[in-house]
């Protein structure tokens, strides 16, 4: 039996103010994309989806508001997928709506 590994997809993309219609359209694109991975039985966890606002705590008790890094690099959420190896995980990440929105998917191996 093949060893099944878990990979985390971290989505980064610009936080843009969209109209509700546009939001809904984007939501559909995401759901169709994740549904495609789920249809292959390769979702390990639907992860979490994050709002753009938050705080950062640094040493010395310094609290700052986001955005944390560059504007185009806001962490939007993550999912966990099952794949045989990194190449297969990268294949799964293709077509991710974050990429079309000028963002990226970071693919990381998870360990227990």
């Amino acid at each position: 039996m093949n060893q099944v590994n878990e990979f985390v997809f971290l989505f980064r993309q610009p936080a843009l103010n969209q109209s509700p219609e546009k939001e809904e359209e984007i939501h559909k694109t995401w759901m169709d994309w994740i549904g495609g991975i789920a249809a292959q039985g390769k979702i390990a966890s639907n992860g979490l989806h994050l709002t753009p606002k938050g705080s950062v705590l640094k040493s010395g008790g310094v609290v700052t508001d986001g955005p944390f890094v560059e504007i185009r690099e806001i962490l939007g959420g993550f999912i966990v997928v099952k794949a045989d190896n990194m190449d297969d995980a990268i294949t799964l990440a293709h077509g991710c709506p974050a990429i079309d929105a000028g963002g990226s998917v970071e693919i990381r191996t998870a360990f227990l």
Binding site: K28, D32, G36, A39, I43
Partner: protein, 411 residues
């Protein structure tokens, strides 16, 4: 079977479940066989007596009276035994008979049956045995009928039921409601068993349509039983009932179709049962409370959209999104296939084809879907997929239906 016999069989089936539950409540679940014996003997006597004298005005009351007498006889026999073996027990005759008095009130029948449902759905028993036990004890099915539904033989079913009852005894399962804090957890198991029971009927391998319909109706009845108690009448219970109503509404239409369950297009809409669809909508509305979204909720909503005959983009877009969510909670190959079909209807042939090619499946439904998607894009590839589907199809009706699709391509 003539009409008279069919009516009797129906009555016995209905009363079997009630009477076994009430008697088991008195004797304890460990003596469930005694309850079954008493009820079976009662039915035998009823058949003999009614043949000569005709069916009484209130046959159920007649059955209850006889069952009470038989239970009392059994109890007296046992009392003698108990007095000889265990002289320390010194209850008065009166007290014994009060104890042995069966309570066939409407409320007690309902309570006992619901408690029986919870007892049978104990996690201690494997789900296949639970379904068998539920069919026998809660739905009054004969061993031969259960064997037919499972495409098995009587001997195997008898063994399975025997082991399940032994488990009930060994685990000392009581015929009572689980403690309050366990009800919610146990309810999930109960709902799952009802869902499996329904599916067993809806997708059963047996060709016996009456039996299949019976299974579905019984599953629905058990679901409705849960709505009579506040603690079990939860949104997810209502969602499951809605799901069963919507599916059952298509029962008559589906029988004549090609059994290709992912393709609804050929169903005769006139055969859909509007009353059941309305019931489904009623329970679907009730299910839309609280925060929990179960797979029953999603499946019920999908079934709702399928109950609308107009083939709109809105309908398929909604079905697609529901399947996307369903896959995240509950992946199965058939859900993946249905999702891809919805993708085709909502986003078009090309989009669906890309996704379909990624699925690593090897059954006739998969090749049927590929054939459907390749149609008009490349008829030759469509044909080769249909042929693969035909080779893998299990029944003649399915093969015939697929051949019709191949023939349509060629012209």
């Amino acid at each position: 079977m003539n009409q008279h016999e069919a009516a009797l069989k129906h009555l016995f089936k209905q009363e079997f479940a009630k009477m076994v539950a009430v008697i088991s409540k008195l004797y304890g679940l460990q003596h469930i066989e005694i309850a079954e014996d008493i009820v079976t003997e009662t039915f035998l006597l009823a058949t003999e007596t009614w043949e000569h004298k005709g069916i009484p005005l209130n046959p159920a009351a007649w059955l209850y009276t006889v069952a009470k007498q038989k239970t009392l006889q059994y109890f007296r026999r046992n009392k003698i035994y108990a007095e000889k073996v265990m002289p320390q027990i010194s209850l008065q005759q009166q007290e014994y008979e009060e104890m042995a008095e069966l309570n066939f009130s409407h409320q007690n029948i309902k309570d006992s049956q619901l408690q029986m449902l919870f007892a049978i759905c104990t996690p201690a028993i494997a789900s296949e045995a639970q379904i068998g036990l539920a069919l026998r004890i809660l739905c009054g099915f004969g061993i031969d009928e259960i064997a037919e539904a499972f495409l098995s033989n009587k001997e195997t079913i008898n063994k399975r039921l025997f082991r399940a009852k032994e488990k009930l005894r060994n685990e000392k399962i009581q015929l009572e409601f689980p403690p309050e804090n366990e009800i919610v957890q146990r309810l999930d198991n109960v709902l799952h068993i009802i869902y499996l029971l329904f599916s067993e009927g809806y997708y059963s391998k047996t060709q016996n349509e009456i039996l299949r319909k019976d299974l579905c109706i019984e599953a629905l009845r058990l679901g409705l039983m849960l709505t009579e108690y506040a603690k079990t009448n939860l949104p997810k219970t209502n969602a499951l009932i809605a799901l069963m109503c919507f599916h059952a509404s298509r029962f008559n239409a589906r029988q004549n179709s090609h059994e290709v369950s992912i393709l609804y297009e050929h169903q005769d809409v006139a055969l859909w049962d509007q009353a059941l669809i309305d019931q489904g909508v009623h329970f679907l509305n009730l299910s839309a409370q609280g925060n929990e979204i179960t797979s029953y909720h999603l499946e019920a909503r999908i079934a709702y959209w399928h109950s609308l005959k107009e083939d709109t983009h809105e309908k398929w877009e909604n079905i697609l999104q529901l399947y996307n969510r369903l896959l995240l909670i509950n992946y199965s190959p058939i859900v993946a296939l249905n999702r891809t079909y919805a993708l085709y209807k909502a986003n078009g042939r090309h989009a669906a084809l890309i996704e379909a090619e990624k699925l690593d499946l090897n059954n006739h439904f998969y090749y049927l879907l590929l054939g459907e998607l390749y149609k008009t894009i490349d008829d030759a590839i469509a044909k080769s997929n249909y042929e693969k589907a035909k080779a893998l199809a299990k029944t003649e009706t399915e093969k015939q239906g697929i051949q019709e699709k191949i023939d349509q391509l060629v012209q």
